[in-house]
Amino acid sequence: MKKLNYIGLFLITAMLWYGCTELYEPQTESQLDALVVEGLVTNEAGPFTVKLSRAVAYNSTTLRKPVAGATLLIKDNKGQSFSLKEKDSGSYQTPENFLAVIGNFYSLHIKTREGDTFESNPQELLPVQKYDSIHGFLSQKTSLDASNSTRVVDGINLLADLPAAVDQASMPYSRFKSSIMLQYNYYWPFTENDDWVTYLFAWNTYNIYDIENLTGTKYNTTGALKNHVLGFIPINSFDYGIGILSISYYYLTINQYTLNLESYRYYEAMNKQLTSNARIFDPITSQIYGNVKCINNPRKQVFGMFEVSSVHKSAYLTTFNTVSKFVKFTGVPYLNISANGKAKMKIINPSKDFGTKGPPPPIPESEDVTPSWWHHK
């Protein structure tokens, strides 16, 4: 019997397979008067701000077009009504006497200069929830750099344990907003100068979670919710893009908002859109629907959300040791300070010709000019 073999053998293939992704700016057309509502009312003392703006064309370079001159009212289910005042263009503030009470329902009513009226669904303010504890460990995260190769970032994985819910149905949803404030100081100029050296106390704040951090896992779990990821804190200054500087303090703040179902659904849809990494699977585009509707013209698009959530705020100083793999969070007071800033300067031997733009204000050598909250004691 004749035997016949057939073998196809690949010898060479030039490995020039470059699939790639690039920015895409398709030409689209759009209706440009859609209102965007961005409001948050909590159980804390006010004032609270509601921002109104208009959506812009996708290709537009403008980020925000404020809507000024509108009339805003917040009504509760007890018959009270509070009128908001425009502080800046498109930014409206609640009055002094406004205080949201747990268990009440609040709704937002808007009338724009053009005469359109908008109304939110009534939103319930739920009781405050608090996580049980937080903990962290040193870890690594990989990402792609500009040249499309992988890059490893060292940092801390921050986790929270949440209390057990009585039952699944009654378990309220939380949204965590956690940020890390890096406190660092540096010399200026960088070279030592006998005549003058400037110390700068600077701080920058970064969100440690890219999208909205919601509890309620993808699928339900029983019992307490352990190890809910709050975020990732890079530990090296260059991973924050602030040069080769030593960081003095890692000041961590955690805001835990308790959401009603409507707010939760909104943020969930928002996350779906923000995480739509279509890739090869190309899912159905996710449209986000808020809780505000145009009353006089139901076809009119309204975006955004009037959120009523209770909040619990906490802050920690974060310390770690990369050698002994040790991470510690020390509870400290919660501070309301601007996100980024540079503090006063301490000048040793102030020179006559400091810098090129004239001398800085003279400060006595002995005075401690460190910001009062700097050490978090």
Partner: protein, 889 residues
């Protein structure tokens, strides 16, 4: 006396290497035949002196048994009556003498003096299986005449009386020439035998005939191994599904994804049958290649319109894949590729009464994924294998058993902690029985199992590790009778029964510490049964029709619950008014439908014909998918009280023309296809593990229409085809409330709407050693939903999307070429080799595979903060050359 009818029964047969059975003398054989068939044989023993015969001949059907003896002995055989047969020498001198000797015994005028022209009818059968062969070319040597057999293997012609050398040729079969002596209206039976040349060397002749004009079937495309072989290879392998998308009316998703779309229907509307069992997931590694090992495939037939009544189940098309089972000797084929290797073995066993085909492929490389521009894909790995086998057992000449098995397995680890696993298991057993020349039957029992699982692990949160399993279990029985009482009818009658059992999803904890709650979606069970009859009728030489009717009845069975929703309100958890519970096997809902299938052919002249078809199909199983390409996470779903079956009605008209002696084939087909109850999704529909999935789905209607122009050149140094298709695929909803509307009930383009499609495919034989081939493909861009507005919320940029499918991606076009050099041409040389250089995407067109909105990777320049923008993705954005060395020995 016995001269009155000179049997025209002749045969054309290539005597194949004999079996090793103990041979017997003719006397022994004759008595065996007489006992087996209860007939009497008359012969002169000296004609058989020294000849021995395989006793198995006696077990053949009587007609074929006698034919075989005629052939082996070079004798003719005449039937005196139904039980008496006479062997006579096969030369005319004998007859003449005999005639003279017999004198005027016969009072009836001798047939061959009665006619100056005679009607000659012939039938051509597969000598091995007895099945009629359609499309066989019959030509008369030294005469300018050729004909082709119809679907029942019959041809008919008027000829002047006289002697002719009839040449029969058919793709994959040995050519045969037989002398016939036409003396009056006569019928001839011919047998052809498969050629056992390696498939690489088979020349296609079916394509060269005018079968496209003569057959009643329209909207059908056929690819045989030769066609497939001439297509450019994609990463080292021919791909059946990718090849099919080069034919008019069939569209692909792009470089990735093996799902294909036929005339505006989704990929789940295609019934892909391997040996009559459906394959639910036809791709490996999400479409990098298709799950069908090309080496074992005998041929592929795709029906786009006028689907014969014996096929049902799906709405848009049927792809019928047949495996090879005719090896005459051991043959081994294999290939070593960059991603996978394959091996295929075919062999006859037990004196050729059994044929075995075994094939398999296995992957071993992930390099391609690691080249992908995505961190998650870079961290991924994939592996697959598939196995297929076919065992044919010839019990005797009338009975045959075929066992078929197929298994494919895919593992895909996505970004280190998501593991996908899916597998297809197909098996069938088929029994063929031939009652007589006119009636045969086959009974098939088959099963197809598709299982998919995903588990996700997280080292930080092991208590949330989970696994999702879903599966489809499909069992079918098909019983078909083929009855060809005469040359004007060819009737198929049969029944089908299908049992579907679907598990849409089970969520389970994965690992010991996981605290995920077990969630089991309710199982879906349904029974689809159908009966059909179709007749291929020849009214006149010009006019023939295939009339078919299929009746399908489907029952959705319990156990399970059905939600009732308030009328005139969008379906949601809030609008549920009641839930109905059903016990196991209790009927939830009946659906039934008549499916008429009509194809009509009218031959205008020798070169052209007009064809018309109407068909209606019901589909009870739908793919629920949130992607445009098939993904393993897709879930199949059965029609239920809330989700009516998909109904597709298609009208098609075609004009077929051959010219320059069938060197060129030209056709224009136009179709209109309407669809009812097409599944669409509400915005943000949740597909996986959704108990209330009915509330997230919408029933849309579809309208699809188009023109397909096709020109093929069959012979000469340059062969190939050009096809241009203009088509539209539209959908619309008719919801009352805004949530139930898509684009406010206006007509919109479906994802499959790519109006312009041009394919140019050519093979040019530069010299005996050098061959050049090229494929050019142009498509309108795919419809997409793009962001129209953006706004800021919580310092994040959010977007508002346009109406569904309002925009289009840029047009797609690509040129692939290859050049082959054959090193050895000598037939007798064992070692044969060739070099092929192929270049995909020659001019480096950056065809958009998809456009999407996503987060950017946090980079140094962006201070590691994420931003969100619109991206476009290319799979192949520059030329991809491949050099292949093939050898065989």
């Amino acid at each position: 006396m016995f001269l009155f009818c000179i049997s025209g029964r002749t045969m054309a047969q290539n005597v194949l290497s004999g079996t090793s059975n103990e041979k017997v003398s003719f006397e022994v054989l004759a008595s065996k035949i007489e006992n087996t068939h209860h007939i009497r044989l008359f012969y002169t023993p000296e004609w058989f002196v020294g000849k021995t015969y395989d006793p198995e001949i006696a077990n053949l059907p009587i007609a074929r048994c006698l034919q075989r003896i005629k052939w082996l002995s070079n004798l003719n055989c005449l039937a005196l009556d139904s039980v008496s047969y006479v062997f006579v020498p096969n030369d005319n001198s004998y007859f003449k003498t005999a005639q003279l000797a017999s004198g005027d015994v016969n009072q009836e005028p001798n047939e061959f003096v009665k006619f100056s022209r005679a009607k000659v009818t012939g039938r051509v059968f597969d000598g091995k299986t007895g099945e009629p062969l359609p499309g066989v070319i019959i030509s008369l040597e030294k005469q300018n005449y050729s004909a082709t057999t119809n679907k029942s293997g019959v041809f008919e012609t008027m000829l002047p009386v006289g002697e002719y050398a009839v040449k029969l040729s058919y793709m994959g079969y040995e050519d045969a020439t037989q002398v016939i002596n036409v003396k009056g209206n006569e019928k001839y039976d011919f047998e052809l035998y498969k050629s056992y040349v390696k498939i690489d060397e088979v020349t296609i002749s079916a394509q060269k005939t005018d079968v496209n004009i003569r057959s009643t079937q329209m909207g059908m495309v056929k690819l045989n191994s030769k066609n497939l072989k001439e297509l450019p290879v994609f990463l080292g392998e021919r791909d059946i599904i990718k090849s099919v998308t080069l034919l008019p009316g069939v569209q692909s998703t792009g470089e990735f994804g093996t799902g294909f779309f036929v005339r505006g229907g989704g990929s789940d509307q295609n019934l892909i049958l391997i040996e009559d069992v459906p394959l639910f997931n036809s791709s490996h590694v999400f479409g990098l290649n298709s799950a069908i090992n090309p080496d074992g495939v005998l041929g592929v037939t795709l029906y786009k319109a006028g689907i014969p009544a014996k096929y049902g189940e799906r709405a848009s098309s049927v792809m019928d894949i047949k495996m090879r089972n005719t090896a005459e000797e051991l043959s081994v084929k294999g290939g070593i590729g960059l991603l996978n290797s394959r091996l295929n073995l075919e062999t006859p066993l037990l004196k050729k009464n059994v044929n075995l085909l075994v094939g398999g492929r296995s992957s071993y490389s992930n390099w391609l994924l690691h080249e992908m521009p995505d961190i998650d894909l870079k961290n991924s790995s994939a592996g697959f294998f598939d196995l297929n086998g076919l065992l044919t057992v010839k019990l005797n000449a009338k009975n045959r058993l075929t066992f078929f098995g197929y298994y494919s397995d895919d593992q895909f680890r996505f970004n280190k902690n998501s593991n996908y696993h899916y597998s297809n298991t197909l098996a069938s057993v088929r029994y063929n029985h031939i009652f007589n020349n006119k009636l045969s039957t086959n009974l098939l029992l088959g099963t197809s199992q598709y299982a998919y699982s995903l588990n996700e692990t997280d080292s930080i949160k092991p208590e949330e590790d989970y696994q999702i399993d879903s599966s489809i279990s499909y069992h079918n029985a098909k019983w078909n009778f083929l009855w060809a009482p005469n040359d004007f009818h060819s009737v198929n009658i049969g029944v089908n029964a299908i049992l579907y059992q679907l598990q849409p999803g089970i969520l389970a904890p994965y690992g010991e510490v996981s605290k995920i709650e077990l969630k089991k979606m309710q199982q879906e069970k349904g029974v689809e049964s159908s009966a059909y009859v179709s007749d291929n009728l020849t009214f006149s030489p010009k006019f023939s029709a295939e009339l078919g009717l299929r009746y399908t009845r489907y029952a959705r069975l319990g156990a399970g619950t059905v939600f009732l929703f308030r009328e005139n309100e969008t379906r949601s958890a809030q609008s549920v008014t009641d839930t109905l519970s059903f016990r196991n096997n209790e009927i939830m809902e009946w659906y039934s439908g008549l499916e008429p299938r009509i194809s009509i052919r009218y031959i205008l002249n020798d070169m052209s014909s007009l064809k018309l078809s109407y068909s209606r199909n019901n589909q009870f199983i739908n793919l629920i998918s949130n992607t445009t390409v098939m993904s393993p996470t897709d879930v199949y779903r059965l029609s239920n009280p809330n989700q009516k079956p998909l109904i597709c009605t298609q009208y098609a008209l075609g004009y077929f023309l051959n010219f320059a002696k069938n060197k060129y084939e030209f056709s224009v087909e136009t179709y209109y296809k309407s669809m009812d109850n097409v599944l669409e999704y509400k915005n943000g529909a949740q597909i996986l593990l959704n108990d209330l999935l009915d509330a997230d789905l919408l029933n849309a209607k579809g309208q699809n229409y188009g023109f397909e122009f096709y020109l093929q050149k069959n012979s000469g140094r340059l062969t190939g085809w050009a096809s241009y298709t203009y088509s539209k695929s539209l959908r619309y909803t008719s919801g009352i409330v805004p949530q139930d509307q898509i684009n406010e009930n206006r007509m919109y383009s479906s994802t499959y709407d790519k109006p312009n499609n041009l394919i140019l495919l050519g093979n040019y034989h530069i010299s005996r050693r050098w061959r050049f081939s090229g494929t050019f493909n142009y498509n309108s861009g795919r419809p997409v939903t793009l962001p129209e507005l953006k706004y800021q919320f919580d310092n994040k940029q959010l977007i508002y999307y346009s109406d569904r499918n309002k925009y289009r991606l840029p047009d797609y076009h690509r040129l692939d070429i290859s050049i082959t050099f054959d090193e050895t041409l000598r037939l007798k040389q064992k070692w044969k080799s060739s070099w092929t250089l192929s270049i995909l995407n020659v001019y480096g067109r950056q065809n958009l595979y998809s456009a999407f909105y996503k987060t950017t990777a946090p980079t140094e320049s962006k201070l590691y903060r994420q931003s969100f923008s619109m991206y476009k993705m290319f799979i192949l954005n520059q030329p991809l050359p491949t050099l292949t060395y093939n050898f065989s020995f």
